[in-house]
Subunit: 188 residues, 2 copies
């Protein structure tokens, strides 16, 4: 195969992927990123975030458009269901991060994928956030992700893509291990 | 003021909020929820999640619509920018959860809010996920949330809303403390 035929696999531009890795090896400052969100309260539990600008590769950058997302609570949680709950976005983020990683790892390993789909479940006992029990944590007790992966490799190799992605997933790391979260406020 | 005048504050139906608390006190099984996402890989780092069904209040439920969200990487991270990155959704989820909590706590405490807005920043060194350093974690090193809150209460009371929300936030808990995350796979 020629370089051109190899350049894109699973929709991943592997030539650019490897070039990016080489660039970062030569200048680790390129790898320092800062992502950002802004959020505005609308009414009740309904609010809206915008994701647009970020810092990376030693410069301020923007997505090609500003992405806006609404969150709310459903009626059973005294909201108006104008969007999913905040905790559901965590499940989406986890599936999305692991899936992107699977595609990248497969491309780097020369595996052609035909399907990657997943279901995520998160168990949460709301006695915590409702303030009705000090024995129950506020967040998810457990999150489970199940992947279905199809491609031109052995079952062991396909499962290995998922495992490698998990070991290099930013969202998995934060959800499994937590991170330093600082909250401050200005009032008027 | 009559009960009717008090029933909705900050867009929060406080009568229903307190009735829900009473119902859960009477039957803690009501508080056991399971949220879910499904995700499908599209191409490269581009994939799409759907959030629709969930379990809670002892029954299967659905949002009034299926919410779908795309995630991708920007070109600088070898993607096509068809959506925000998975890690940006974490920042949105955090702001959304804290903001919903602030509105609920304010309503319960009789504080009328006129503005709640926030900015969230997350610092991440991609040497981790790129596999170029074992000293650098994959996820955010730190996340910072700054709130601007305006309402008919003292600065201390307004700041207290944010603090109470943080202490009862499901997303804050998961991001700050981590949780049990299980990943498995079926292959074809």
């Amino acid at each position: 195969m020629t370089t051109t035929e190899n350049a894109v696999r699973n929709g991943v531009d592997t030539a650019t992927l490897f070039a990016t890795l080489d660039a970062v090896k030569g200048d680790p400052e390129i790898a320092k990123f800062q992502f950002r969100a802004t959020n505005r309260w609308l009414s009740g539990t309904h609010n809206r975030s915008t994701l647009h600008g970020f810092y990376g590769a030693k410069q301020e950058m923007t997505h090609k458009q500003a992405f806006t997302y609404d969150a709310d609570h459903p009626p059973v949680l005294v909201g108006s269901d104008n969007g999913p709950t905040p905790v559901e976005y965590l499940l989406h983020a986890l599936a999305a991060c692991l899936t992107a990683g699977i595609a990248n790892v497969a491309a780097a390993r020369g595996v052609a994928l035909t399907e990657v789909s997943s279901t995520v479940e998160g168990d949460i006992d709301l006695l915590g956030i409702l303030g009705l029990s000090d024995q129950v944590r506020n967040g998810y007790r457990q999150i489970r992700v199940h992947f279905d992966v199809e491609g031109d490799a052995s079952p062991e190799e396909l499962a290995g893509l998922v495992e490698r992605s998990r070991l290099r997933s930013a969202v998995y790391d934060v959800l499994a291990n937590g991170t330093d979260v600082q909250v401050d406020v200005s009032t008027r």
